[in-house]
């Protein structure tokens, strides 16, 4: 569905070098701290910035060949922009009808009602969460094959976030679809994504299937003495702590079996990010 191969982009003091793949039928997450390169990656995919090297393919076509008709098959949520604030949703409906052959007006109106989005209020008067909901609804109501969602849950309350994630799960029930999603709320991704890329300083530092990440990866909490005796072969990163070290491993079971006296935790995606980014490579 989507393939980025060594996509490069340089800004002052920042260099993106990203390779990732979004397979049909999969929800792929892109995680990383602020300024890690998530939005730059999304903008490169959407053709909003030029790239200095590498290649991007969507639906098997190079991005330079992606035309308006292909874009009808893509649903977009952007973190730092949206529909003009001077329009109302009522103004948007005829516009969307003319932009997308498969625009589902009734579904769009119903979702707006469900999310309590007023049709006749200017979008600039909406809260951040309301603007985000509007973008998500627009992305989901024109039979897109690929969703590119940059922080779709930002600014949403817990209930709205849950409803939105349910909408994405329902969207994925149909074959031939895929989602690339970024979120700073890792629990969103844990329950939704099939695989996850972690990006830091413009580079992909980890790729793993979510199940593997949660079931096989782990965090060892060890004292200095325990650390010195530890087999570091399966340790990816270590971070100094007050009690000693937190160590990230991709072989949790190995340490559970061979070091019964040390604390081995499953770890959340947040903790994995933290150690991957702040920890030292072993």
């Amino acid at each position: 569905m989507l393939r980025l191969n060594k996509v490069m982009k340089s800004y002052n003091g920042f260099q993106l070098n990203c390779t990732l793949d979004v397979q049909e039928g999969c929800v792929t997450g892109l995680i990383g701290k602020n300024g890690a390169g998530k939005s730059t990656t999304f903008k490169a995919i959407l053709g909003l910035i030029s790239t200095d090297g590498g290649s991007i393919e969507i639906f098997g076509k190079p991005i330079s060949e992606i035309g308006v008709q292909d874009k009808e098959d893509i649903g977009v949520v952007m973190a730092d922009s949206g529909f003009s604030g001077f329009l109302t949703i009522q103004d948007l409906i005829p516009m969307l009808k003319n932009l997308y052959r498969n625009f589902q007006e009734e579904v769009f109106r119903r979702k707006c009602r469900e999310f309590q989005l007023p049709l006749n209020k200017k979008i600039k008067e909406f809260s951040t969460g309301m603007k985000r909901k509007l973008q998500v609804i627009a992305a989901l109501t024109h039979e897109a094959k690929l969703l590119i969602l940059d922080e779709p849950t930002a600014g949403l309350d817990v209930i709205a976030r849950d409803e939105l994630l349910d909408m994405l799960r329902t969207y994925m029930e149909q074959e031939g679809r895929a989602i690339l999603i970024s979120s700073h709320i890792s629990s969103d991704l844990e329950g939704l994504c099939d695989d996850i890329y972690m990006i830091d300083n413009g580079k992909i530092i980890l790729y793993e299937e979510t199940d593997v990440l949660l079931d096989v990866y782990g965090i060892l909490k060890v004292t200095k003495e325990q650390y010195e005796k530890l087999d570091l072969e399966h340790i990816l990163r270590c971070k100094k702590e007050e009690f000693g070290y937190s160590c990230l491993t991709d072989q949790r079971q190995f340490y559970q079996e061979n070091y019964p006296d040390i604390t081995v935790e499953k770890g959340t995606i947040d903790e994995l990010i933290m150690i991957m980014i702040r920890g030292e490579r072993k």
């Binding site: 909003l48 008709q69 977009v76 952007m78 003009s84 932009l99």
Partner: protein, 218 residues
């Protein structure tokens, strides 16, 4: 393209204050004065440059980036802006003319067709020159920085004209009689000449706009 027209009409629909000002100005000028030249020119220019405000609205909060992530090509966007400016200028001119005609009949004031032609021509020239300069500048620099760019451009333009006049004086070129000859041309020749110049300027402006928008990053 149709979707973009609908969007811009939506943006215009929201500008109730603008239309209220236009209506008040039109009513005040048409009821208080007997010379309608100014009001015709004013309304034509106001409607003509409305397109620029739609670019500013699109651009706010990086909205253009989102628009280009939707099925909207950058070329279509530029094309629509030029067409939309025609689509607003012409009805604006017709509206104020009809209004002026009706009021002149009611107030029993002579409505001079020659004067009307002259005023509409001058107004359309102002509109074309403004759009030819401002659309590419808005697209290149965005709404905020385009003001500064325009000031620099006008400053540069004024200096260039001043330098050209000084150069003509220094070289003994009689540019005044050349301008007089232009003024003495028949209206048909003048209008055809102006139409040709406007077409060429619009063509250059359109090309520049395409170049700027395609190079812009969001």
């Amino acid at each position: 393209m149709k979707a973009l027209f609908i969007k811009d009409l939506g943006l215009m629909k929201g500008q109730k204050q603008f239309f209220a000002v236009v209506l008040i100005m039109m009513t005040v000028f048409l009821s208080a004065y007997t010379d309608y030249s100014f009001v015709i020119a004013y309304i034509t220019v106001m409607f003509g440059i409305m397109t620029l405000s739609t670019i500013s609205y699109d651009d706010q909060d990086n909205g253009l980036g989102y628009l280009f992530a939707l099925p909207v090509s950058r070329r279509d966007y530029v094309k629509e802006k030029y067409l939309f400016s025609f689509a607003t200028t012409i009805p604006g001119t017709i509206l104020v003319t009809v209004f002026a005609l009706v009021v002149s009949r009611i107030r029993k004031i002579d409505f001079c067709i020659e004067e009307w032609v002259m005023m509409v021509t001058i107004s359309l020239l102002i509109v074309v020159v403004t759009l030819v300069l401002m659309i590419p500048i808005h697209l290149k620099f965005g709404a905020e920085r385009s003001r500064l760019a325009l000031m620099i451009l006008f400053g540069g333009g004024t200096l260039t004209i001043y330098a050209a006049v000084k150069l003509c004086d220094a070289l003994g070129i009689d540019y005044i009689s050349a301008l007089d000859r232009l003024a003495d041309m028949s209206p048909a020749v003048t209008l055809t000449g102006l139409a040709l110049i406007c077409t060429v300027l619009l063509g250059i402006s359109y090309r520049c706009s395409i170049m700027f928008i395609e190079a812009r990053e969001f």
